[in-house]
């Protein structure tokens, strides 16, 4: 157990008072940055990069690590309280987190989100100590065909997720996929549906669509809700904690979602958004009461929160073991490593064991500190709900615009934001669900591109999609996720009939 020995050594590094201070500072800053719309972990790390140049490599890495998972903790605060996710990984937290707030259970939602993030982070760090190298070697077995199967699986799960009219759910998905085709097609260089607008050439950032549909949609709806007195101002605030019963519902989902998130995070390019959405779908399908999902089921919040924090740990694996950036954030961190004079790559563990194991040990400490910091912080944050809606909603609007600007520094995004805000509102009126659209926008381009990459590599043979055990397993999961809900419906109907006869 050489790695345990080295981990112990890492702890002696991470537990130095200065390093504990850095991880705390990084974590708190990250939490604040994560809460602002449009500013996710990648921007957070990039912004604080110059600050870390004057530190030593250990302190710099530990601080950046703190910013990274701090931003993951912070990202979901706005999702839960205002239905305005700060980044992709926090989208899934709106599905059940915001309904909980509407029911006056914001305290419990914030608490479980911090607890689940903490457990997810710690479990994933444990995995990292034990299996990082084999996981990295396994992750590179994912080729274009395997990624295609993975994206199809994610999409199939949401298509069945839509409530109400099935046809409308599929419509939303197709419209989302259409949005994802906008921009330069990477495989051929052909510009698709850009209408001569330069800013559209790199496609529409899915974060803009998310901010538009959730935040602007919420503001548009509020005009009516305020008039009809449907909005409320929360005056009494309880303690940020959860009941024993809530806890019982969440334990298993958290434990299941953490390894899932860890692994999805370790796949280069998949990331926290995919991890949290897949964890959510997974729990909904395994749940005994799937109809409560989307209406404030606490495990529907716990699962994606655990998964996205685990994914942020997993994303470090390709960076540390292979020198491949697994996500936008780790790409920025890799740049920082190089500036600090380290060469990310397979030799890093051997050449710089003290720094790497120090970083891993600091992940444990960072998660503990973040959990401690976040619970009192949430107690203050929840008071946002005491701001009258007539003031709160214009402010949400102001935050949405500045968030959109921070993504690409372009005013064009204001107009895109408005277009999709209106689209989201109309979809709400026409009772078309928006979550299939969101997921389709996130995975759409990758799905099409992976398909065509595989198709080129195989010289046009479809066999490539079933060539590896990974593809076959993912394909089987897709079939199950489509058939399982239908099968369950048939089963319930049959049981009802039998009971009627009895």
């Amino acid at each position: 157990m050489e790695s345990i020995m080295q981990l112990m050594q890492g702890f002696t590094v991470a537990l130095q008072p200065m390093n504990i201070m850095w991880v705390t500072i990084g974590g708190v800053l990250g939490t604040i940055i994560g809460m602002l719309p449009g500013l996710g972990p990648a921007t957070g790390v990039a912004v604080l990069l110059p600050l870390t140049f004057s530190m030593g490599p250990v302190a710099a890495l530990i601080t950046m690590g703190g910013v990274y998972y701090g931003a993951m903790y912070g990202g979901s605060r706005a999702s839960i309280l205002l239905n305005t996710p700060g980044d992709g990984a926090a989208v899934a937290a709106t599905f059940d987190g915001y309904p909980m707030t509407q029911q006056g259970r914001a305290e419990a939602a914030l608490a479980i989100s911090a607890i689940a993030s903490f457990i997810g982070g710690v479990i994933a760090t444990g995995f990292m100590v034990l299996v990082s190298v084999p996981v990295a070697r396994f992750a590179i077995r994912f080729g274009a065909a395997e990624y295609f199967q993975l994206y199809v699986f994610a999409l199939a799960a949401t298509a069945s997720m839509s409530k109400g009219n099935r046809i409308k759910g599929f419509m939303a998905m197709i419209i989302g996929l259409m949005i994802a085709t906008i921009g330069i097609d990477a495989q051929s260089g052909v510009k698709r549906f850009t209408f001569g607008i330069l800013e559209l050439q790199s496609g529409i950032d899915f974060l803009i669509v998310i901010i538009a549909i959730f935040a602007l949609g919420e503001v548009f709806k509020s005009f009516q809700n305020i008039k009809e007195g449907k909005t409320h101002v929360q005056k009494d605030f309880g303690r940020i904690w959860i009941s024993r019963e809530d806890w019982k519902r969440c334990v298993i989902p958290i434990l299941r979602s953490s390894p899932l998130g860890f692994f999805i995070g370790a796949l280069p390019g998949a990331g926290g958004t995919m991890a949290s959405l897949m964890a959510y779908n997974n729990e909904r399908q395994m749940s005994k009461h799937p109809d409560e999902f989307g209406k404030g089921a606490i495990e529907g919040l716990a699962a994606p929160e655990a998964a996205n924090n685990a994914a942020s740990v997993g994303a470090m694996i390709p960076m540390l073991t292979l020198g491949i950036p697994g996500s936008g954030t780790t790409a920025v961190m890799m740049g920082a490593l190089m500036i600090l004079g380290m060469k990310p790559g397979p030799l890093l563990f051997q050449q710089q064991p003290v720094i790497i194991w120090g970083l891993i040990a600091s992940m444990f400490i960072g998660n503990i500190i973040l959990a401690i910091v976040n619970i009192p912080l949430a107690g203050g944050l929840v008071r946002v709900l005491s701001v009258p809606p007539k003031i709160l909603y214009p402010i949400v609007l102001g935050l949405s615009f500045v968030g959109a600007y921070a993504i690409s520094y372009s005013v064009m995004d204001f107009y895109i934001l408005l277009v999709f805000g209106v689209l989201g509102y109309i979809m709400g009126k026409a009772k078309i669900p928006t979550s299939p659209l969101i997921l389709a926008v996130i995975v759409g381009n990758n799905m099409e591109q992976s398909f065509r990459r595989a198709f080129t590599i195989s010289d046009g043979s479809m066999q490539i999609f079933f060539n590896s055990p990974i593809s076959i397993v993912l394909f089987a999961l897709t079939i199950i996720s489509i058939c399982f809900p239908m099968g369950k419906a048939v089963f319930i109907k049959m049981r009802e009939r039998r009971q009627a006869f009895a």
Partner: protein, 169 residues
């Protein structure tokens, strides 16, 4: 109720409109796809296949919804009670004004800098929600908000926001 086929509820009417709009959208997408240039490398039609399939599927889904809703209308025997809510009510007006305000914000943003343009934008939006009588609160909130965000983003985090011209703040 002489002609039962017209006895559609508001929800059903909305669905019918949705179906038709989606079919038109799908058709427009197919036409735009056909107009795309061919790829010079790889298969010439490779960039068109996926969008074409999407357009076609949306048309089919629209048709499916149309059939489903018409069947439901024909099959229903219940008397339909319609609330006769106007399609474009007071809220649509407020939403439209918010959109216009957003476009104006975009036009002013680069010219006036973040702080001033945000004061104007947020001020108008607060006016829309609160009415003229609370002008003191409106000015206070919009000034504090724009200054806080500007200092937080531009000065503390180093995320660039346009500065005011001349003054250079």
């Amino acid at each position: 109720m002489g002609n039962r086929s017209f006895a559609a509820s508001d929800a059903q009417k909305t669905s019918l409109i949705t179906a038709v709009v989606c079919m038109l959208l799908g058709l427009a997408f197919v036409i735009m796809t056909a107009a795309l240039p061919q790829a010079a490398v790889g298969m010439p039609n490779a960039p068109k296949i996926f969008p074409f399939a999407l357009g076609a599927t949306l048309i089919l889904l629209g048709a499916g919804l149309l059939v489903q809703q018409l069947a439901a209308i024909r099959g229903s025997t219940e008397e339909v009670v319609n609330e006769h809510k106007p399609m474009f009510d007071i809220h649509s007006r407020q939403i439209a004004l918010t959109v216009v305000n957003g476009v104006a914000y975009g036009l002013l943003f680069g010219r006036l800098g973040y702080v001033l343009s945000t004061c104007v934008f947020l001020g108008f939006e607060l006016l829309l929600f609160n009415g003229k009588r609370r002008w003191k609160m409106i000015i206070l909130v919009s000034v504090i908000f724009s200054l806080t965000i500007y200092i937080l983003f531009n000065k503390l985090l180093g995320v660039y926001l346009p500065m005011m011209p001349v003054i250079g703040f």
